[in-house]
């Protein structure tokens, strides 16, 4: 019987031929923790009487969620991470280096066939590189730090076939929001997702990251794509080599196969307070907004900043809107500077914050006030997500966020193209 991508990766990493429902202990290639989860993982590591890391060269801790620290208690947790990194010899990414997932994508160590666990739910992002990567909690992370292994139940797979060509002004973010709206927030719970079809193949690698990033918003354990030239180019750019593509067999068995033609897709938005509360933009046009955010591990990449600058060129953000930009990594930040993108965004009224999570999770900057409405390129709009339960959050593509920032109300980006 044929295997899906995840069955193949878990077979390779556990040394046996696995099938859906098997429990396997598999070796991991890379382990990551961020500042919201690492302190508890360090506690668990001590509780497990961990003596050393399985391989310090395959472990990274990232200070990105509350970075720079807004208060002394957080500073102390950051310092705990720094001293753990010194003690164990693992890599520490400190304030200003970027959001964990972008940094992992830029290591060159994660590519086709890799198995990665990260103590952050959006670890599924690396699925766009044909890797099985998944979010775990702090105790699981500690176990992986010590043993270099993790246990998994081999999941069934749901396959999304996206045919056709996305129209101008409609992006990978619109597509993934649409898919989440279709299958709902628990439509893929315990399952792995595979995304394929002409529309996925046509996407840049950065656009694919956006799709894989949000697999968890449908409950999925992973969001995997096939490897192609773009995949290998990306990995090579960061010095990675030795990876081999993992493709599903033609006779692989899927829990469900869902086919869509994306050619007529409109820009989509997730409405408060659920990511699967999705509507076409046309139904929401005109809704006033007070803050606009470009950034996060979903859409804080160079391509996103280019799209934003393109729309904003020669225009200004509405005086009623605060516009925050959080580049996803230092590398992106510097490149955006060199290309003049940041100049365009800042002169038009934007405020650039430290590369990292930015206002995404309400821990250190850009908290909205009561009754305000935010439009953001992030992946979650739960009540209170940005630090205020009395604010509303809409999620859309960088183009939609930018167009809305200019007019001060939800606006179709195609008006500005």
């Amino acid at each position: 019987m044929g295997q899906t991508i995840i069955e193949k990766i878990l077979s390779n990493k556990s040394g046996k031929n696995v099938t859906v429902g098997d429990i396997v202990v598999a070796t991991v290639d890379y382990v990551m923790g961020q500042d919201g989860t690492s302190p508890l993982a360090i506690n668990a590591y001590r509780a497990m009487e961990g003596k050393k890391l399985f391989d310090p060269a395959r472990v990274a801790l990232v200070i990105d969620h509350s970075s720079p620290s807004p208060l002394e208690a957080v500073s102390n947790l950051h310092t705990l991470m720094r001293s753990f990194a010194r003690e164990t010899g693992c890599k520490l990414y400190d304030v200003g280096e970027g959001v964990c997932h972008q940094l992992m994508l830029e290591t060159g160590r994660i590519g086709p066939g890799s198995l990665v666990v990260g103590a952050d739910s959006h670890t599924c992002t690396y699925g766009a590189l044909n890797a099985f990567s998944t979010g775990v909690g702090s105790t699981d992370l500690a176990a992986a730090l010590i043993s270099g292994k993790m246990w998994f139940k081999v999941p069934e797979t749901i396959k999304f076939v996206c045919n056709g060509k996305l129209p101008p002004g409609v992006y990978s973010k619109d597509l993934i929001l649409f898919l989440i709206g279709q299958v709902t927030a628990d439509g893929a719970t315990y399952l792995s997702a595979e995304y394929t079809g002409e529309a996925i193949r046509a996407m840049s690698i950065e656009a694919r990251f956006t799709v894989a990033n949000m697999a968890i918003e449908m409950g999925a354990k992973a969001g995997l794509m096939e490897a192609d030239e773009k995949t290998f180019d990306w990995v090579k750019r960061f010095g990675g080599s030795g990876f081999e593509a993992v493709a599903a067999d033609a006779d692989a068995v899927y829990a469900r196969v869902l086919e869509y033609d994306v050619s007529a897709l409109e820009p989509q938005l997730a409405k408060p307070h659920r990511v699967d509360n999705v509507a076409p933009l046309s139904e929401l046009a005109g809704t006033p907004i007070h803050q606009a955010v470009i950034g996060t591990c979903t859409n804080g990449r160079l391509e996103d900043l280019r799209i934003a600058a393109e729309i904003l060129k020669g225009r200004k953000v509405s005086p009623d809107v605060r516009f925050i930009i959080a580049p996803a990594s230092r590398e992106i930040y510097v490149q955006a500077m060199r290309e003049g993108l940041l100049e365009t965004l800042v002169l038009a009224g934007g405020a650039v914050v430290t590369p990292g999570c930015g206002p995404c999770v309400g821990t250190h900057n850009g908290v909205p006030s009561d009754g305000e409405t935010v439009i953001s390129t992030a992946n979650r709009n739960f009540k209170g997500r940005m630090g205020n339960r009395n604010a509303e959050i809409y999620l859309g593509s960088p183009a939609t966020v930018m167009a809305s920032a200019i007019t001060g109300k939800i606006t179709d980006p195609r008006e500005f193209l």
């Binding site: 506690n43 009487e49 509350s66 103590a119 670890t123 775990v136 309400g362 009540k383």
Partner: protein
């Protein structure tokens, strides 16, 4: 393991931001402090309504969202004895077992707010004393039972220094 208490009921898709808001989770490793804010964005006075031993009862997909282990820990330190839901998000489910918070999959439509329950994990049944019904519990995967019976994953690692899971047995099932 047998627990007795009253039900506090919530809906479907209760995410980890609702269980413990992101704005608190990073500030401290003091779980008793975090526990005071449990479910705060949905019910501001929730913590004060808890009698030790009570149950958190919910619909589908409990614990979706982030991987923060602070979520099950805050529930546990709020002195709730277990979470009962129709289904759980996978990371939350693992985290709960790893940290020793019992999670019970069952038909929660048969439980109303305030109902008095006896949860008998060994027998796999919940007695709803208020309504006089017995609710069947969906069995837990055996590897999870193994981790729970070792006292959580940290204790499992202290004992074996690595993963020692009875996979063959599981795969034969």
């Amino acid at each position: 393991m047998e627990f007795k208490g009253r039900a506090h009921k919530f809906g479907d898709d209760i995410n980890t931001d609702y269980i413990i808001s992101g704005k608190y989770k990073f500030k401290t490793l003091d779980m008793n402090e975090l526990a005071r804010h449990v479910m705060e964005d949905l019910d501001q006075d929730f913590y004060s309504k808890i009698t030790p031993g009570d149950f958190l009862v919910a619909g589908r997909n409990f614990g979706c969202g982030s991987s923060r282990e602070q979520a099950p820990l805050a529930v546990k330190h709020a002195r709730l004895s277990a979470v009962l839901a129709k289904s759980f998000a996978r990371i939350f489910y693992r985290n709960a077992i790893n940290t020793g918070l019992p999670v019970v999959e069952c038909d929660t439509d048969q439980i109303e707010p305030g109902d008095e329950l006896v949860v008998d994990l060994a027998a796999g049944v919940i007695h709803n004393l208020t309504r006089g019904v017995a609710i069947e519990v969906k069995p837990m995967p055996s590897v999870m039972l193994q981790i729970l019976s070792d006292g959580g994953l940290a204790a499992h690692f202290r004992k074996y220094g690595e993963f020692k899971l009875d996979q063959e047995e599981e795969n034969a099932l």
